[in-house]
């Protein structure tokens, strides 16, 4: 590997170290209790990760996120594809989407809590709602962009409408769908934390805000760090999967646009 290549491979790491240095310097300079240094924060991380209860809380969060995300994918992709190919379906759902899209899903949390309680159900539902919309939108756009002639070619081979949907529209729209899923994954993390802030009962968001209430600022910052790393790892893992699924849409020999 050339020196340039090594530098490129290490650049995310260098960026992280740089950020931590700036943090360390800034907090030493400001010297307030509510802004712990980077080193203090990093020291607080193992305490959280070895605490059985914290781990259960984080796993609870991840479980809700996984269920919400999976359900959203299972509902949103077929719906988006149908909207993209069948005008009547699009005509019905598009106005609905337009109204629901800009509403912050977490803002619905109070109503949902009122109806479904503060448990798993409400939180998973909010995650589901948050994730669904970008995936529906991207699946819709992807399906709409599928070339008519490609479907005609399939029809001439004797493929039924159903087969064309599953074996032409779905793969052709996959790059677009996966872009939606990537956005959805990040939104899942956001809605997960937000829902736990509102309905405090368990989860990573719960630890975060309990620590804030008790003025344990190093724990607050450590928790933010943990959630941030979770986001980066999930996104990088997803990007790997995405690239392996849509290799055909990438030019050969091209470097993937991810540092994973």
């Amino acid at each position: 590997m050339t020196a340039r290549g090594v530098l490129k491979a290490l650049s995310p790491l260098l960026a992280c170290i740089g950020l931590l240095c700036v943090w360390q310097f800034a907090s030493l300079r400001l010297d307030t209790e509510s802004f712990p240094t980077a080193i203090d924060t990093l020291k607080a991380v193992p305490a959280i990760l070895t605490d059985r209860e914290s781990i259960y809380n984080i796993l609870d969060s991840l479980r809700r996120m996984a269920i919400g995300f999976t359900l959203a994918v299972l509902v949103a992709i077929p719906l988006g594809l149908l909207m993209g190919r069948i005008k009547a379906v699009a005509d019905f759902f598009n106005p609905l989407m337009m109204i629901v899209y800009p509403v912050p899903k977490a803002a619905l949390m109070p109503i949902i809590m009122l109806w479904l309680g503060v448990g798993d159900m409400s939180k998973t539902l909010v995650i589901f709602l948050g994730v669904s919309l970008p995936i529906i939108y991207h699946a819709y756009q992807g399906a709409r962009a599928v070339e008519e002639k490609m479907l005609w070619s399939g029809a001439a081979m004797g493929m039924s409408a159903r087969a064309r949907m599953l074996r032409i529209v779905l793969p052709a729209a996959l790059p677009e769908i996966l872009t939606g899923c990537r956005t959805g994954l990040v939104l899942a993390l956001i809605t997960m934390i937000t829902s736990e802030m509102i309905a405090r009962q368990s989860g990573a968001g719960n630890i975060l805000f309990n620590a804030l209430d008790m003025a344990q600022y190093d724990t607050v910052f450590a928790m933010i760090l943990i959630v941030g790393v979770m986001g980066i790892v999930l996104d990088a893992a997803f990007e790997r999967i995405r690239l392996s699924l849509v290799r055909w849409s990438q030019p050969r020999g091209d470097m993937p646009l991810s540092f994973s």
Binding site: E147, K149, W152, S153, A155, G158, L174, S249
Partner: protein, 259 residues
């Protein structure tokens, strides 16, 4: 006289345009195409020549009239009529070989058999060695070669070619025309070929159907009586070839009152 492979019987096509107006794209077209014939449909853009091809393909339902293939009424697309489009319409997520095998597997052919036949076809269209490439990695001419192989793969009786070489540069276009004639000489499928190039139509066809527009009607059918196999270099010096071109060119000459 050979039996008609395709019969187009008093077909008209009307499209709704914006507002309550409608546009008559095809007006009362009747045309018989013999089994094994190479017939080109030639006309200015907007004369409905592609629409006529789509009707035979079963992709578009005519407003009036019917079309038949081998005496059977056309009600939708089917593997007896294989389309080749100007836009190639390859499946980008499949490799070159995967594209060619797609229709065969769809027809229930065994994978090993489809694989062997696919490789053979790719060799025939000059793409040996490109089996594992993705369409994105190919030039326009190569893409169209894949598309032709993909359609030939499921052995349609009729090839429906919709300006297949329209998006290619002149050199590639000439090579593909020659190769298409070679393939046609070997397989003798019925070909319906839409183009707006007079030279291309005369070079390739047994018959050239000249259309006029607004509404699209058949202006004249010209039998091209040139010996086969045809070689482009020979034909360019052939007076009959030139005469056909000039004759047809005059027919489709766009006068302002046609607009």
């Amino acid at each position: 006289m050979k039996v008609a492979m395709i019969e187009i019987d008093h077909v008209s096509q009307r499209f709704q345009t914006s507002g309550r107006r409608s546009h008559l794209a095809l007006s009362d077209i009747s045309l018989d195409i013999a089994d094994g014939a190479f017939v080109s449909i030639l006309g200015p853009s907007g004369c409905g020549k592609s629409t006529l091809l789509y009707i035979v393909g079963g992709f578009v339902k005519p407003t009036e009239g019917v079309a038949r293939v081998k005496g059977k009424l056309i009600t939708g697309p089917g593997p007896d009529r294989g389309p080749v489009f100007q836009e190639f319409a390859l499946f980008p997520w499949k490799t070159v070989l995967g594209n060619v095998m797609y229709g065969m597997l769809q027809q229930g052919m065994k994978k090993s058999e489809a694989d062997a036949r696919g490789r053979g076809l790719l060799e025939m269209v000059g793409l040996k060695g490109y089996e594992t490439f993705f369409p994105k990695e190919l030039s326009g001419g190569m893409k169209q070669r894949v598309a032709i192989a993909r359609t030939l793969a499921y052995d349609p009786a009729v090839l429906l070619m919709d300006e297949p070489f329209g998006a290619l540069d002149a050199h590639t276009r000439t090579r593909l025309q020659n190769d298409l004639l070679d393939i046609w000489d070997r397989q003798r499928k019925t070909v319906l070929f839409v183009t707006h190039s007079v030279e291309e139509a005369v070079f390739l066809s047994d018959k050239v159907v000249v259309m006029s527009r607004s509404p699209g009607t058949i202006k004249q059918i010209v039998d091209i009586d040139l010996p086969r196999p045809r070689r482009r270099a020979d034909l360019l010096l052939d007076a009959r070839f030139q005469t056909y071109i000039v004759e047809i060119e005059k027919m489709i000459d766009d006068r302002p009152d046609d607009m």
